[in-house]
């Protein structure tokens, strides 16, 4: 048969040019190739050379073009003309906008810097925004970590000098058993997917611990359908089983952790020598000695004058039958046999299937190890365990489990990414000393070592507006952004003048108690002034929050500005290399908008803030790009580590290089510096790594340290609660602190369980991140909103049957705080007592340049209406914060609800009045194509 086929061009020209920069659709920060046609963005794909994503790109990243061109983009600075929340604005010039802002801010700087509260969302320019805030002089600065996952970050850093999150990663190439707790997406989205892909390709095993079996948990080989809020108990049962069977890595515990450190039997603090070094008994000599001496083999079981080792305390605690599988099975919703089986599997893989790499390394005691022994069990966790009021202790418990198995920083286990590992001692402490007209006395956020570091005024009241680092949440290392609006509204601990926010949708999906927050933002005092007098906000898009600000500073999109993803902040490192990256304007904005960081530079210059100004009064930098290249944190150390020095050849430390950004662009938008092979594991104790880190400028001197199974800072707070020391907690918090500040991890029921009637509210209600959406931003994306244009409430089979739900049915869901009426959908792959929905799909009518009938606004909904920032009053009449008592992390996932079948309403409830769109509406049709 003769076949005639049309001739097609199989080698069409792809684009005129590729510009390489960094994605911004989430905090993962993948490298992207932006294909340009006729000077416009035509297609975006992953950059194959990039250390983060190696060429792959997720749905959001691939849809970047629709984000960049979204009709919801703000176009010009806006001044509010209608009442707050109406969405009525007038477009003004940048000159006017900056004048208004300086008119509000300068007097505060000169007289009461703390009257400015500056809080930023999920951007990664925190080292710069905090520098700005510090120079402004206010103590009221933080980013969003307090409501996000500070439990994870702080739990990790206090225990092992680094956390999961994006600060570490499983050893994907070697692990044989991967255990994932409470993760839907995380900040490491593409790397986790790539890693799971690698594990799967090797046929290694994945265990998913999650009430919901979707996404990563759907591909997991084994599913542990845990009851929300009980992971701590489950993990400690595993610890119990492993200890009982002696399946612990004794060598590792003895050499690299504080398990052998002696605990003073009277104070519960470490026995230390005169130099402050922790003391151990050397099992070779039997002598009492500082832990780090050459040749010392610390004993795990020795006692000294009645003082026991941390290991002894742990054994006593965790061998107790209260942690036996049978004892926890019902609470956790996991059969005892299954817990046993998991413990056996962990032990088998860690010890019987141990791996060895032929790499010699030298530890901090000077001992040479011929091989790197690996325990190929890797674990990873995120908000599923941390967004509970017992999250900090649960995160610590998980690290204990990893550590007794000897899987941290060993081949096949969990590995840190530079600048981690980094002990608490190498982190700053928080600062709050405000001086009018001058900078703050140091960085705002940090890691407290004990009560002496709390941010309290002389009268014992909180120094910060968010009450971070107070007795209510002593170790709140990321601040508490979720408390700012309610505290500012209540004038508790004091009133502020201006709330300045950046990139956080606080009047909608990022707040608990959304309606309440809206009321606080719009409520006025007797004199007719808003209770929060002024609000400045920077957003790039027409979000719900825009409507509630008085002055809008419109930002560029991620393809139109300079950014730096810095080692001083949250860099893009991999376990095998230090890396940082930039964004640069691959296209110029077609609107009158400015990069927010550049606007901060301009504001600082207008106010002549100290750090931004030369001795002679002239400005140091004109814009953010100028700052990125020319700012030095310490001599030779700046925001970017690559291409430093006159010749652009220095790494980490080096003089300013005016051509630095060009070198980054030439190199694909990033810089990567490999960790040497002999330094690649055992980093906290590995001399080669320590030297490498010093050379790179991560530390000024080597910082080897011990993993903190027993936490001394926590014991110090506990001791204070027991009545010791000068700084004493208020009476109503004393008992709570005594309990929760246990220096060894333990489990307690999530607060909501003890504050509400769990018979009346028997169901757990959760949210998950959809992989194809980023919080509220995804919705303005024409492609992504077709995938997730509305969110049902997913209901377990048991609840479905009990309530007789039907397809396309609706439910009224009620918590102690409020009620919503929403569409339901059956999911059989779900813990029996759980319902959940996608996070942040529900939208306010009028926002995001969508039509008012958009399904996001009519069928979509927020679970946030059911969650309050305070728990209902208890017997004592006091209302506890709905947060972790240690770090203040918002306890989003403690939520308890009841559910009832409901008649289908016209729209999901509660409904809100539409806001007027400051940018109009998007077009009716889209036939996107750039170039011919």
């Amino acid at each position: 048969m003769s076949v005639q086929q049309p001739k097609i061009d199989t080698s069409p020209k792809v684009s005129d040019e590729i510009r390489k920069t960094t994605c911004y659709m989430c905090a993962c920060r993948c490298g992207i190739n932006v294909h340009m046609k006729d000077g416009k963005v035509a297609y975006i794909e992953g950059n194959r050379d990039h250390p983060v994503n190696r060429g792959v790109l997720c749905a959001k990243g691939s849809a970047g073009i629709m984000q960049h061109n979204a009709p919801s983009r703000l176009r010009k600075p806006l001044k509010r003309v209608g009442p707050r929340g109406s969405g009525e604005f007038e477009e003004i010039s940048w000159d006017e906008a900056l004048d208004i802002a300086v008119g509000w801010l300068k007097p505060l700087h000169d007289t009461n810097p703390e009257k400015l509260a500056f809080f930023t969302g999920r951007d990664q320019s925190q080292s710069f925004t905090s520098f700005w805030a510090q120079n402004f002089g206010t103590c009221n600065y933080a980013a969003h970590g307090g409501f996000c996952s500070v439990n994870m970050a702080a739990g990790g850093i206090y225990t092992m000098g680094g956390a999961f999150w994006e600060f570490g990663q499983p050893d994907w190439d070697h692990t044989k058993l991967f255990m994932l707790f409470g993760v839907a997406e995380d900040h490491d989205s593409n790397p986790i997917k790539m890693g799971i892909g690698k594990i799967k390709a090797r046929g290694a095993k994945v265990i998913g611990v999650n009430p919901v079996r979707s996404g990563y948990n759907a591909v997991a080989d084994e599913w542990v359908a845990i009851t929300p809020g009980t992971d701590g108990l489950f993990i400690l049962a595993l610890v119990h089983e492993l200890m009982k069977a002696g399946k612990v890595d004794a060598q590792y515990l003895s050499r690299f952790t504080n398990a052998p450190v002696l605990i003073d039997k009277d104070t519960g603090l470490f026995l230390r020598d005169d130099n402050g070094k922790e003391l151990v008994i050397d099992s070779v000599t039997g002598d009492l000695t500082p832990f780090d001496q050459k040749g010392v083999r610390p004993s795990l079981s020795a006692t000294h004058e009645g003082h026991q080792t941390a290991m002894a305390l742990m054994a006593e605690k965790y061998l107790d039958p209260q942690y036996a599988p049978e004892a926890v099975a019902e609470t956790c919703g996991i059969p005892a046999e299954k817990i046993r089986k998991i413990a056996a599997d962990l032990a088998r893989v860690a010890f019987d299937e141990a791996i060895e790499l032929d790499r010699e390394w030298v530890d901090f005691r000077g001992e040479t190890h011929q091989k790197m022994i690996g325990r190929p069990v890797a674990m990873h966790a995120m908000r599923g365990i941390s967004a509970h009021s017992n999250g900090f202790q649960t995160c610590r418990a998980l690290h204990i489990l990893q550590i007794i198995l000897g899987t941290v920083e060993t081949p096949g286990g969990f590995r840190f990414k530079p600048p981690y590992p980094k002990p608490v001692e190498a982190h700053p402490k928080p600062h709050c000393k405000v001086t009018p007209g001058a900078p703050l006395d140091g960085p705002h956020l940090g890691f407290v070592r004990g009560p002496e570091d709390l941010m309290l005024k002389d009268d014992g009241t909180p120094a910060r507006i968010d009450k971070a680092f107070t007795w209510e949440n002593p170790m709140s290392s990321h601040g508490l952004m979720h408390m700012v609006i309610s505290n500012a509204y209540a004038g508790d601990p004091y009133k502020i003048d201006t709330l300045f926010m950046y990139m956080a949708n606080m009047s909608w999906n990022s707040s608990m108690n959304t309606r309440g927050v809206i009321e606080m933002l719009t409520d006025k005092d007797e004199s007719g002034e808003y209770k929060i007098p002024r609000i400045i906000y920077s957003d790039a898009y027409s979000s719900e929050m825009v409507a509630y600000a008085d002055l809008i500073l419109p930002d560029t999109t991620y393809l139109e500005r300079h950014d730096c993803i810095s080692l001083l902040d949250r860099p893009i490192c991999e376990a095998d290399g230090a890396a940082d990256a930039i964004r640069w304007p691959v296209v110029e904005p077609d609107r009158d908008v400015r990069g927010f960081q550049s606007v901060l530079v301009q504001l600082a210059n207008k106010m002549a803030l100290k750090g931004f100004t030369h001795e002679d009064g002239t400005a140091k930098w004109q814009d953010y790009a100028d700052y990125i290249v020319n700012h030095e944190r310490k001599p030779g150390i700046g925001p970017l580590a690559g291409f430093r020095g006159k010749d652009g050849k220095s790494v980490g430390r080096g003089e300013v290089n005016p051509g630095q950004l060009d070198s980054y662009i030439e190199n694909g938008g990033f810089f990567l510096h490999h960790v040497p092979d002999e330094a690649s594991y055992f980093k906290p104790w590995n001399a080669a790594y320590q030297d490498w880190a010093v050379e790179l400028g991560l530390f000024d001197s080597p910082q080897p340290y011990l993993f903190q199974l027993y936490s001394e800072p926590m014991r110090k707070f506990q001791r204070a609660a027991e009545g010791h020391g000068e700084r004493q907690p208020p009476e109503h918090l004393r008992d709570r602190l005594k309990t929760v500040m246990d220096p060894l991890p333990f489990w307690y029921a999530p607060f909501e369980d003890t504050h509400v009637d769990t018979d009346e509210y028997p169901i757990h209600a959760l949210t998950q991140r959809p992989m194809a959406m980023y919080h509220s931003w995804g919705t303005q994306n024409a492609w992504l909103r077709q995938v997730h244009g509305r969110n049902p409430l997913y209901v377990s089979q048991k609840i479905w049957d009990e309530h007789g739900f039907e397809e396309d049915g609706w439910a009224e869901v009620t918590s102690v705080h409020g009620s919503i009426t929403v569409p339901v959908m059956l999911q059989t792959t779900l813990n029996d007592h759980t319902v959940w929905t996608w996070n942040a799909i529900g939208k306010r009518k009028g926002a995001w340049a969508l039509e008012e009938g958009a399904p996001e606004a009519t069928k979509g909904f927020l679970l946030n209406h059911l969650i309050h920032e305070l728990l209902p009053p208890k017997g004592d009449g006091l209302r506890w914060a709905n947060s972790d008592p240690i770090t203040g992390q918002a306890a989003w996932f403690d939520l308890r609800v009841k559910i009832e079948k409901a008649a289908a309403p016209l729209e999901s409830q509660p409904g809100f009045a539409p806001i007027k769109s400051p940018v109009g509406r998007g077009p009716k049709d889209l036939t996107w194509k750039v170039g011919k």
């Binding site: 048969m1 005639q4 086929q5 049309p6 097609i8 199989t10 080698s11 069409p12 792809v14 794909e45 194959r48 060429g55 792959v56 790109l57 997720c58 749905a59 691939s62 849809a63 989205s189 593409n190 997917k193 790539m194 799971i196 892909g197 799967k200 046929g203 079996r213 996404g215 759907a218 599913w223 200890m243 009982k244 069977a245 002696g246 060598q251 003895s254 004993s299 795990l300 290991m311 002894a312 054994a315 046999e337 299954k338 089986k341 992989m771 194809a772 024409a782 492609w783 077709q786 995938v787 059989t828 792959t829 009938g853 958009a854 399904p855 998007g922 077009p923 049709d925 889209l926 996107w928």
Partner: protein
């Protein structure tokens, strides 16, 4: 041409690994992006910012729940695009010859300038792999990225479909099924790659790798589980044991 070639030189297609796909929709969107900018008319969207957005996509990710007899239910993410069938009914039904299967590699394509938009090919496809574009009114379908896989303007390593290149989990594989040594042939053989709706007689080229056995513990648990044997019930005993172990090392 509407009649099918009696055989094709190569049999290019995809292997999709249902054991690995996490359902992230990356392949869906990168496909949309590439094909909006390349072969044929852009993939349009109607009412993109309104109440009822509807757009053309060449690849979509479903999800299914499976309830095995005696283990917990499973959720399976399920990407689906054209399977480039050997006996492609969509080709033979086409009245204009716009739909055809390429002799050299078996790719099923639509020549958009010949397409009258009758929709019959979409009716004939059991898999829902064809969508009529709402703006251009021509039939759109997966081209297996015919404008990438041979494209000399792309670096060699990029000459693979956009969806394969982007898949973060590595759940998509591209290759020649006519070659028994190709990656796709091997994967299919090793992992029991399967056809969708074989009873439809379309002989799909694309293959799906079934999910591996899951929840193996469920059966094992009470019967043969080799639980950990205790060395000690008491802290003292445990610590003593620990020190003995340490000494041995």
């Amino acid at each position: 041409m509407t009649t099918l070639p009696s055989s094709t030189t190569r049999k290019l297609g995809l292997v999709i690994d249902l054991d690995t796909c996490v359902g992230c929709h990356a392949c869906v969107i990168s496909c949309k992006g590439w094909n909006t900018e390349n072969y044929g008319a852009p993939l349009s969207d109607q009412d993109p910012y309104g109440a009822d957005p509807v757009g053309t996509f060449l690849n979509r990710v479903h999800s299914f729940e499976v309830k095995p007899e005696d283990s917990p239910p499973q959720l399976i993410h399920f990407p689906k695009s054209c399977l480039h069938c050997e006996d492609a009914p969509c080709v033979t039904v086409c009245p204009t010859g716009a739909s055809y299967k390429r002799v050299e590699d078996g790719i099923v394509l639509v020549n958009e300038t010949d397409c009258i938009g009758c929709g019959l090919c979409a009716w004939s496809c059991p898999y829902g792999a064809r969508e009529l574009d709402g703006a251009e009114k021509v039939m759109k379908k997966c081209t297996l990225c015919v404008d990438r896989i041979y494209n000399e303007n792309l670096p060699e390593e990029d000459r693979e479909p956009a969806c394969v290149r982007t898949c973060p989990a590595g759940a998509r594989h591209f290759g020649d099924f006519a070659d028994p040594d190709s990656n796709v042939s091997k994967l299919t053989a090793e992992r029991g790659g399967m056809d969708l709706m074989p009873e439809q007689g379309t002989k799909p080229v694309n293959k799906y790798l079934p999910p591996r056995q899951k929840d193996s513990w469920e059966g094992e648990v009470d019967v043969l589980a080799p639980f950990l044997a205790p060395v000690a019930e008491e802290p003292k005993g445990f610590l003593g044991w620990l020190d003995k172990t340490l000494e041995k090392l």
